[in-house]
C-alpha cells in the first residue's frame, strides 16, 4: 500500500527534532528559537495574508476598490473642511487634495491595519485554543494584508498628481524606505496591542479614539511647518510625525526627505520592535488560558 510505504520512507528520511516544553521563562536563546520557528511557518503567514485579502473582498461588489474608497472619501471631506470652512496654512504650492491624499494614504494603512491586528488574536479564539503555531502570525498577517491595500490605493495618488500637474521626482523612491519604517512601527504596535487586548478588551474599545487623536497629532491634515517651533522636538517623538511628513515631502513636493525627522522615527522603530516582540512572546504562552 502506497500510504504505509511513504510513511516508512519519511520515517527513515527526515531527522526527528526533539522539542522540550517547560513552564514559560525568559531567555535570549528562546527568542532566537522563536524567530527560527516563525521562519518555519512562513507559508502559514502567506496563506493567512492571502486569505485576509480574499475574505475582505469576496462578497463585496466594489471588491478591491474599497481599499481606495476610504482614503479617497476622507480626502474629499477634509478638502471641503480645510479649504472652504477652516483654512489651513499651507507652505508649498502643491494642491491641498494631493497633500491630503498622500498623507491619508499611509495613515489609513496604519490605522486600519492596527485596528484589525489588535483584534487579531481575540478574533481567532477558535484557532488559538485548538492549534499551535507562532501566535505573532495572526497580527502580522493583518500588517501584510494592509500593505497590499496600500499598494492598491497608491496608483490613485499618481492619477491625482497627473490631474493636478504635479511633477514626480527621483526623491519619490525614498517612499519605499519610509514605508518600511512605518511597517516596523506598525508591527511593533500591533504585537503589543494584540497581546494586551487578550487581557484587557478595553484596548480595542479605546483604540478608535486614540487613533483619532493620534491622527491630529500627526501632520496629516496640516504640514509639520504649521507646528510652533518650540513644540517641534516633542512633536517629533511621535514616530508617525516624521513618517507622514516625509512620505508626503518625497512623493508630492518633489523634495529630499528631512533626515533628522526621519532618523528619529527610524530610531524609535528599531528600538521598539525587539522590545515589542519580547513582550509578545512572553505573554504568548498564556494566551490560550486567558483568551
Amino acid at each position: 500500500m502506497s500510504i504505509s510505504s511513504q510513511t516508512a520512507d519519511s520515517f527513515e528520511a527526515h531527522p526527528r527534532k526533539t522539542k522540550v516544553i517547560r513552564a514559560p521563562s525568559f531567555s535570549p536563546v528562546r527568542i532566537q528559537a522563536d524567530i527560527a520557528e516563525l521562519y518555519q511557518y512562513r507559508d502559514l503567514l502567506l496563506t493567512l495574508t492571502a486569505h485576509r485579502v480574499k475574505v475582505r473582498y469576496k462578497q463585496s461588489i466594489l471588491g478591491v476598490a474599497w481599499a481606495i474608497v476610504q482614503p479617497f472619501s476622507l480626502m474629499l471631506i477634509y478638502t471641503l473642511i480645510f479649504t472652504y470652512i477652516a483654512r489651513v496654512p499651507m507652505t508649498g504650492t502643491t494642491p491641498y487634495p494631493i497633500v491630503l491624499y498622500s498623507a491619508l494614504l499611509i495613515w489609513t494603512f496604519f490605522s486600519t491595519a492596527l485596528t484589525s491586528a489588535t483584534n487579531g488574536l481575540v478574533s481567532h479564539t477558535h484557532l488559538v485554543t485548538k492549534v499551535y503555531f507562532p501566535r505573532e502570525i495572526l497580527p502580522l498577517s493583518y500588517v501584510l494584508a494592509g500593505l497590499f491595500d496600500l499598494l492598491i490605493a497608491s496608483p490613485i495618488l499618481i492619477g491625482l498628481m497627473i490631474y493636478y500637474g504635479v511633477p514626480i521626482s527621483i526623491y519619490a523612491l525614498y517612499a519605499i524606505p519610509i514605508a518600511l519604517i512605518l511597517t516596523v512601527v506598525l508591527t511593533s504596535a500591533s504585537l503589543v496591542l494584540s497581546a494586551a487586548q487578550v487581557h484587557f478588551r478595553d484596548i480595542g474599545m479605546a483604540l478608535p479614539l486614540v487613533l483619532q487623536i493620534w491622527m491630529f497629532a500627526s501632520p496629516v491634515v496640516y504640514p509639520i511647518s504649521a507646528v510652533p517651533e518650540r513644540f517641534r522636538a516633542w512633536y517629533l517623538l511621535n514616530p508617525m510625525a516624521g513618517i507622514v511628513e516625509n512620505f508626503r515631502r518625497v512623493l508630492v513636493e518633489a523634495a529630499p526627505p528631512n533626515f533628522a525627522e526621519l532618523g528619529v522615527s527610524a530610531l524609535i522603530a528599531v528600538v521598539f520592535l525587539p522590545i515589542a516582540y519580547i513582550i509578545f512572546k512572553h505573554t504568548e504562552a498564556k494566551i490560550a488560558d486567558v483568551i
Partner: protein, 422 residues
C-alpha cells in the same frame, strides 16, 4: 524508542473570585476588589508522568474535567505546563477539534490549504496530498464551493481528512469520533489503525470506550488531574467502570439550586437487568430496567419522573417521561420507588450519563422537586448487530396467507397460461 515523555507535569489555573453579590457592582470595582483577594487555585493536572513508545497508541480516559484535554493541550503546545517537563520527539499534529481552522467564506480547496498550513504543512506538501484529502473526505463535487454551504457531515469529514493525511510522527486526537456518521467513524478508525501500523505514535482521547479498546495498546485513567491507573485498555476501562459504578449517587450539581422544592428526595437510582440484578453495562437490544427510589416528606400530587440519557457533551440521546403513558403520580408520604422497563434497549454502543428529575406535572421549566445531574452512567456494548443511528425494537415474521383459496391458485394458474380463443 520513546516519542513522548511527561515528567512530573502539573498545570495550575488561577481563578480570580469576585466578591459575593458582585452583580450589583460594575466590573472595574469588582476587578479592583478582586486584586486584593487571594486567587483560587485549581490544579487541572497534578504530577503526571508517563512515556509513550514509538508506534504505541495511548488512550486517555476519565470523566469530564479529569484533565484529559489539558494534557492534550499541553502536548500540542497550546498551553504551557506550570511545572515539569514534556519531551516530544518528532513532528506532532493535533486534532483537538475537527474543522476549527476553517473559514466559512472560503471554498473547500482554499480551506484545505489554509487548514493544512495551520497544522504545519507547507504548500508543496498540501498540493501533493490534495487529491487524496479530497477523495477521503468524499467532497470531490464541492471542492470549489464555500464551506459555509457544506453540510456538517462534509465539514467534519474534510477536517479529519486533512489531519489524517499529514503523516505526522505523533498524532493527537481529541474526541474526533464523537461527530460524523457511523460509516465515516469506521473509516476514521481504519485510517487511525493504518497510521498506527505504519509507525505513527498516537494519543487518543475518547468517550467511546469501545474505540479506545480497539485502537489503543495502552491506556491511562485520569481522575482529578492524577493518573489512577495505567495498563492494557481492557483492564483500565474495567477499573474506570468499577469506580464510576461504586459511587451510586455523587453530590448532585443542582442540589443547591433554589429552584428545588425538595418535598421528595431521590435516594437511589439503579439500572437492573432482566433478572432484577443491579448492573452498569448493557448491550443494545437487552432488557433493561431503571429504578428510582425516593423518600417523600409530605404527600405531593401530580408528580412526574424523568430520566434523561445524554452524552459527555450534554447532547440528549433519549428521554423517558413517566407521564407519557400513565397519569401523573400522587405520591404519599414515606419511601417508595418507581421503575421504567425497556424490553429492548435502543441505545447504541457508547457511554451515557443519566439525569434524574422529579417535578410537578405543571411545573415551569427549571422548577423541580428534586433533580440529580449525571447521577449514573451506563456503558452500552454492541449487542444485536446493527448499522445506522439507533436501534428500534422490532420483530420479523412470515405472514401466511389467511385461507389459501384453491380457486385463487387455480385462477393464477390459468392467468399465466395463454388463453386460447381470446
Amino acid at each position: 524508542m520513546i516519542d513522548l515523555k511527561f515528567a512530573n507535569v502539573s498545570k495550575r489555573y488561577r481563578i480570580r473570585q469576585g466578591p459575593e453579590g458582585a452583580t450589583s457592582e460594575n466590573r472595574l470595582t469588582r476587578t479592583l476588589k478582586g486584586l486584593w483577594k487571594p486567587r483560587k487555585e485549581f490544579w487541572a493536572v497534578r504530577d503526571v508522568s508517563f512515556e509513550v513508545e514509538r508506534g504505541e497508541a495511548l488512550g486517555i480516559i476519565g470523566h469530564n474535567g479529569a484533565g484529559k484535554s489539558t494534557i492534550l493541550k499541553m502536548l500540542a503546545n497550546i498551553t504551557p505546563p506550570t511545572s515539569g517537563e514534556i519531551v516530544i520527539n518528532g513532528r506532532l499534529s493535533a486534532l483537538i477539534e475537527v474543522g476549527s481552522g476553517f473559514h466559512p467564506e472560503l471554498t473547500g480547496r482554499e480551506n484545505i490549504f489554509l487548514n493544512g498550513s495551520i497544522l504545519g504543512m507547507t504548500r508543496r506538501e498540501i498540493s501533493a496530498k490534495f487529491d487524496r484529502i479530497v477523495e477521503f473526505a468524499g467532497i470531490q463535487q464541492f471542492v470549489d464551493t464555500p464551506v459555509k454551504r457544506y453540510s456538517s457531515g462534509m465539514y467534519v469529514r474534510l477536517g479529519f481528512s486533512i489531519a489524517a493525511h499529514l503523516d505526522p510522527d505523533i498524532l493527537l486526537l481529541d474526541e474526533v469520533l464523537a461527530v460524523g456518521d457511523t460509516a465515516f467513524q469506521t473509516k476514521c478508525l481504519k485510517r487511525i489503525t493504518q497510521l498506527k501500523e505504519s509507525g505513527t505514535t498516537i494519543v487518543f482521547i475518547s468517550h467511546d470506550l469501545g474505540a479506545v479498546e480497539r485502537v489503543c495498546t495502552r491506556s491511562i485513567l485520569l481522575e482529578h488531574g492524577e493518573i489512577q491507573a495505567m495498563g492494557p485498555p481492557d483492564e483500565v476501562i474495567a477499573e474506570y467502570q468499577a469506580r464510576a459504578g461504586s459511587t451510586s449517587l455523587p453530590p448532585p450539581l443542582l442540589k443547591t439550586s433554589s429552584l428545588l422544592s425538595n418535598e421528595i428526595e431521590i435516594t437511589s437510582f439503579t439500572f437492573r437487568d432482566g433478572d432484577g440484578n443491579e448492573m452498569s453495562l448493557a448491550r443494545t437490544g437487552d432488557r433493561l430496567t431503571a429504578r428510582i427510589e425516593y423518600h417523600c416528606e409530605a404527600p405531593v400530587a401530580d408528580v412526574v419522573f424523568e430520566i434523561i440519557f445524554h452524552t459527555m457533551d450534554e447532547e440528549v440521546i433519549c428521554h423517558f417521561l413517566s407521564a407519557s403513558d400513565r397519569p401523573a403520580e400522587d405520591i404519599p408520604e414515606g419511601a417508595g420507588m418507581i421503575e421504567v422497563h425497556c424490553d429492548e434497549l435502543g441505545l447504541f454502543p457508547g457511554m451515557y450519563y443519566v439525569d434524574v428529575i422529579v417535578r410537578r406535572a405543571d411545573a415551569q421549566p427549571g422548577f423541580r422537586i428534586d433533580s440529580r445531574h449525571r447521577c449514573k452512567n451506563l456503558r452500552v456494548d454492541p449487542g444485536k448487530q446493527l448499522r445506522g443511528l439507533f436501534y428500534s425494537p422490532h420483530r420479523w415474521d412470515q405472514p401466511k396467507p389467511i385461507v389459501p383459496s384453491p380457486t385463487l391458485v387455480a385462477d393464477a394458474g390459468v392467468a399465466s397460461e395463454p388463453k386460447v380463443g381470446i
